[in-house]
């Protein structure tokens, strides 16, 4: 789990799996989720194993999340915005929710 060294900065409110979470402007979605949750940020499509972001720079694809209804977004490459809705993916992405 991660902590913010300082709590200044503009507060941005997002939801993570429906729960309201305060993030800070400029943070990536992956960072905001890691500051809020311990452990897995998704489970794998192959075996359902727990995973969390590994590289934070867009190459490992472990931070895949559903962001504002669009599945399989790289959470480390997208900055939080006010009112953003984030969902952790369980297994393969759901084709139904794809926009």
């Amino acid at each position: 789990m991660l902590k913010r060294r300082h709590n200044d900065g503009k507060v941005v409110t997002i939801t993570v799996d429906g729960e309201t979470v305060e993030a800070r402007a400029g943070e990536s979605v992956a960072a905001a989720v890691l500051a809020h949750t311990e452990g897995a940020t998704r489970t794998t499509p192959v075996s359902g194993a727990p995973r969390a972001p590994y590289c934070m720079m867009g190459v490992c694809f472990e931070c895949l999340m559903e962001i504002d209804g669009q599945p399989n977004r790289q959470g480390c490459m997208v900055r939080v915005t006010d009112g953003m809705s984030v969902r952790r993916q369980q297994g393969a992405r759901d084709m139904e929710t794809s926009s």
Binding site: R4, R5, S28, A31, C55, F61, N72, S99
Partner: protein, 478 residues
């Protein structure tokens, strides 16, 4: 409407890309920089503007070398450089056509010349347990400090080798993080092997001084340092709970909720592979790099490469190389004469020489250990996306899979969302060892567009697009 056209399209806004853009604009070229991130700086100077202007406390933690990047990126907005920020490149053609998307709409840009400055990525570190939540690369922890001012809250185990490992440990110490152990795979034999390169490295004494100072500070902060470790494993079931490793005759088990792995950085070759450029194997550092000629030129006349994407030399060398490549491009477009080139290039060439002087020492000293290159434990996951283990790969080799591309048909290794970025090097090494040959002989995954996933909606909303530009043109074919 036709595709936007520029004299020079630069892919990547790290030190090589930004420096090249400044230099190219100065000699009168029209330039655009396409970058995946919404702020310039690459990974090394990630978010440096935001940190410099809004988060001074993080600037102190990250140090002078990071702060230096502010001077480099600061001029970009005021310059004549067209900066396509937040644009992910998904295909590049040998004729200079670059396909990208801003996340909503795909776009086609044409460059008379294209310079790839796609930089480096950390070498993946396949050890038992490396897929557990709580395990990250050391660089990931640094990115969290840069982009979010965050540090891991629990005890941290930092494991591996390389100059970046020390830098990040030093930064975490300054950030007040709780470091349980700094466990280095570097052995005494590594230092002995590096010794002959010391004389040349003394030309870049500033690097050596920095390294020694970092080590002193980490020690002074009371961090437990263990050197010459092997048999590294991450312990835990649903998440990381600690690490175990051997040092000498002793086995250590240290509790940690965050494990940071690092074994140096390697060129990110996805784009150069997609272009089907020839790649060479760096026998000492065990990575692929694209073959380049004079100042980043390649076998494709319109394509140039600068910075760590052409071979690891570090950020300051990348900056000098970017400027040299921009001048070379200007020369090839007759924007400057060869005499003028020589005049302008001289200071950057000596700058590049200075920053390269330390590299043979570092390359000899910080070599990834054999057990990281070819994981001995059959159950260690190599392909994280498709959950393919080292044992699976060895078994497929025994059944006849000759190389990485045939292995896909056996195991789907390299066919998940990361497109082989995480497993490519390891698959090559494991297959080479299984077949008793060299990685250079075994080869690498064939990389096809799109380089990054894009939605059909983005493609359907494609802006512009010349009628003579069609998807799947010859250079992108299999």
């Amino acid at each position: 409407m036709s595709a936007a056209e520029f004299d020079m399209v630069i892919v990547g806004a790290g030190p090589a890309g930004i420096a090249a853009a400044h230099e190219a604009v100065n000699v009168g070229l029209t330039v655009c920089v396409v970058d995946e991130q919404d702020a310039p700086g690459g990974q090394i100077y990630r978010d440096v503007e935001r940190v410099a202007m809004e988060r001074a406390h993080d600037l102190d933690v990250l140090g002078a070398d990071y702060k230096y990047g502010f001077g480099l990126v600061d001029g970009l907005h005021a310059s004549k450089v067209k900066h396509f920020a937040g644009h992910t490149v998904w295909q590049i053609e040998r004729d200079g056509t670059v396909w990208c998307s801003d996340g909503n709409k795909a776009k086609c840009i044409k460059g008379r010349r294209v310079m790839l400055a796609t930089g480096a990525m950390e070498r993946p570190v396949p050890v038992p347990g490396w897929t557990l939540p709580g395990v990250m690369t050391a660089g990931a922890a640094q990115i969290l400090m840069k982009s979010a001012g965050m540090v891991p809250s629990g005890p941290i185990a930092i494991c591996g080798s390389g100059p970046l490992l020390l830098l990040i440990a030093d930064q975490l110490v300054r950030a007040g993080a709780n470091i349980a152990v700094l466990a280095e795979t570097t052995t005494f034999a590594d230092y002995v092997r590096a010794a002959p390169h010391l004389l040349r490295a003394l030309k870049a004494f500033d690097y050596l001084q920095k390294g020694m100072a970092m080590r002193r500070r980490i020690k002074a902060a009371g961090v437990k340092i263990v050197s010459g470790i092997s048999a590294l494993e991450v312990v835990g079931s649903e998440k990381a709970e600690g690490v175990s490793f051997k040092a000498g005759a002793k086995t250590h088990r240290i509790d940690a909720s965050t494990v940071l792995l690092h074994q140096g950085v390697v060129p990110n070759t996805q784009a150069t592979r997609q272009l089907r450029l020839e790649h060479l194997w760096h026998a000492q550092q065990h990575y692929w790099y694209p073959k380049t000629g004079r100042h980043g030129s390649t076998e494709a006349a319109a394509i140039y490469i600068a910075g760590d994407g052409a071979g690891i030399n570090g950020a300051r060398a990348a900056e000098a190389a970017g400027r040299l490549t921009a001048l070379e491009v200007a020369c090839s477009l007759d924007a400057i004469s060869r005499e003028n080139f020589d005049l302008k290039a001289a200071p950057w060439q000596s700058e590049l020489d200075h920053h390269q002087a330390v590299r043979p020492l570092l390359d000899a000293m910080f070599r990834p250990p054999a057990e990281i290159l070819n994981p001995p434990n059959d159950s260690t996951i190599v392909c994280r996306c498709e959950e393919v283990t080292a044992g699976d790969i060895r078994e497929a080799a025994r059944l006849g899979a000759p190389g990485p591309n045939q292995l896909k048909a056996f195991l789907r290794a390299g066919m998940g969302p990361c497109q082989g970025r995480m497993c490519g090097l390891t698959v090559t090494e494991v297959l080479a060892a299984a077949h008793g040959t060299s990685p250079a002989q075994i080869g690498a995954y064939r990389i096809r567009p799109p380089l990054k996933p894009l939605s059909l909606a983005e493609l359907a909303d494609m802006e512009a697009g010349d009628s003579d530009v069609t998807l799947g043109s010859p250079s992108s074919g299999p």
